[in-house]
């Protein structure tokens, strides 16, 4: 039971004033600007957009600043903000095949059309802290290589799709309207569209842990990275006042196509199956984790035994949202005085009962 209690207004007011002061920190250090956060803490901004489920760089930067760098608090702020805005509609599905590519790699095919493009990656760095960065040394402009013709980069899964070696893209029955968990409460079991929506906004750490568990043998799925691509796609919206879909601008996405061995079932021949990841911003760890979880959660559909946590849809999806999780875990610190008083009484009565029994037993 939660009973409202009065009092503490002054303490709360002063605590928030103290929070504002600590957030600002030493006044002799310049205040951090939102454009600095957007430019120099870009991957943190991307994470807040992905898990806040709202694409807006500046809002995500503001949330990070307001939350003093606490990412889950920042995500919470963004989620709260979105509830204040009207919804104009649903966009047309984005075309990731037409992405303006900034990074694109495949771990399954060396020589793929369009090539392996490393882009701005941490891979192959030595993970040594760089004192020069601390000293703010000037940074050289990147190399450029101008190619005579721009070679398109088709999705690897489309290349492998021929000959039936790999399953086709996930289809749902004709005319299925995509589920929207921001409009309807989740009712299990879910279709894959709703699972993907939940995973796309799910906590990176939680999904990473589950993805790792599938590699360690809990729902083993023999995964390969078919392709990871990062870049910008165009967003289009149909509006009532115009006869053609409008281009709203471009957003950066990370897409991961995980390819998994599948030994076949009564209905299907042996072939490669797929797990899919699509995330706002540049976030390949999240996109990879999402695609591994997506594949594990297809166990029922593919006739596999459900033996591990990562395959349990209700377990994974009910606990993947960090705003929900933090809300319920953190509510424990709110006053539970009356609850606890009742428990205290109960424990006292049980102890009295226990002592009486002891006395009786000794007497006998």
């Amino acid at each position: 039971m939660y009973v409202a209690v009065k009092g503490g207004e002054t303490a709360i007011r002063n605590a928030h004033k103290l929070l504002a002061d600590k957030r600002r920190g030493d006044r002799s250090v310049p205040s951090i600007r939102l454009d600095q956060i957007v430019e120099q803490l870009a991957l943190g901004v991307d994470r807040v957009m992905a898990e806040g489920s709202l694409y807006d760089l500046e809002l995500a930067a503001l949330a990070i600043k307001q939350a003093r760098g606490d990412m889950i608090e920042a995500i919470f702020l963004v989620r709260a903000y979105r509830t204040t805005l009207p919804r104009f509609g649903y966009t047309l599905p984005v075309e990731t095949a037409a992405m303006a590519i900034e990074r694109r790699i495949s771990a399954t095919f060396k020589d793929l059309p369009g090539g392996q493009l490393l882009g701005p990656t941490f891979d192959y760095t030595h993970r040594l802290l760089d004192p020069e960065l601390a000293a703010d040394a000037a940074v050289e402009a990147p190399e450029e290589r101008v190619e005579e013709t721009h070679e398109p980069a088709p999705r690897v899964t489309d290349i492998l799709g021929h000959h039936g070696m790999i399953e086709t893209d996930g289809e749902l029955p004709e005319g299925t309207a995509p589920g929207d968990l921001t409009r309807e409460p989740l009712a299990f079991p879910l279709e894959r569209d709703l699972r993907l929506q939940a995973l796309a906004r799910g906590d990176e750490g939680f999904l990473l842990g589950l993805a790792y568990s599938t590699q360690r043998g809990y729902a083993r799925s023999h995964p390969f990275v078919g392709e990871i691509r990062i870049g910008e796609v165009e967003v289009e919206l149909e509006v009532a006042e115009l006869d053609f879909p409008l281009t709203l601008g471009r957003i950066r996405l990370t897409e991961c196509q995980m390819v998994n061995q599948f030994k076949g079932s009564a209905k299907q021949p042996p072939q490669f199956t797929r797990g899919y990841g699509l995330v706002f911003g540049q976030s390949e760890r999240k996109a990879m984790s999402m695609s591994l979880c997506d594949r594990a959660l297809r166990a029922r559909e593919l006739g596999e035994d459900v033996t591990a946590a990562a395959q349990d849809e209700e377990f994974v999806i009910s606990h993947s949202d960090n705003v929900q999780s933090t809300g319920f875990v953190e509510h424990l610190k709110l006053p539970h005085y009356v609850d606890f008083q009742a428990e205290l009484d109960l424990v006292r009565r049980m102890r009295a009962e226990h002592e009486r029994r002891d006395v009786q037993e000794t007497a006998e």
Binding site: Y55, D56, E58, F88, T96, G115, G170, E241
Partner: protein, 157 residues
């Protein structure tokens, strides 16, 4: 509607779609700059907005399968009417109200046969040029990180 007219309107739609796509990707600075040097400014009445809301961005399962809801994005829209009676619309990602209001003004001006060329030359062309330049740079920077595989040949002689 005659066939000719349908075709004409399809072409006009394609032209306006392309124009609005460029206006949506203009920066706030560009819109302010192009408007400040626009001679013979028309009377502008704001019919709607600028107002900010959300769109739910959709992806497709596996890249080209069934659609699913990926997450939302902020969008700002505005509708204006010029003294001439032409109505302009604009929608763009983000929350830059004044940029979107000016984009709606240029959309209305673009629909005027007498003004279209000037809008194309002084507003749309510079935006398109900047976007092309940015794309070219990004491609060249990315291409410089392309892996050129070579196979080590074992010496046999």
């Amino acid at each position: 509607m005659t066939r000719d007219f349908q075709e004409m309107s399809a072409t006009a739609d394609a032209g306006r779609k392309a124009a609005m796509a460029l206006l949506a990707q203009a920066t706030a600075d560009e819109m302010t700059r192009f408007w400040s040097v626009w001679t013979d400014k028309p009377e502008v009445e704001t019919l709607r907005g600028p107002e900010t809301g959300l769109v739910m961005v959709r992806g497709r399962i596996g890249g080209s399968g069934a659609p699913f809801n990926l997450g939302e994005a902020t969008v700002t829209r505005a509708t204006v009417r010029l003294g001439s009676g032409a109505v302009g619309h604009a929608y763009a990602l983000g929350r830059q109200g004044e940029k979107v209001r000016l984009a709606a003004v240029f959309d209305a001006l673009w629909q005027d046969d007498a003004k279209r060329d000037v809008v194309e030359k002084t507003v749309l062309a510079p935006i398109a040029q900047r976007l092309d330049e940015e794309l070219r740079t990004k491609r060249a920077e990315t291409a410089a990180t392309k892996v050129d595989f070579f196979t080590m040949v074992r010496g046999e002689d």
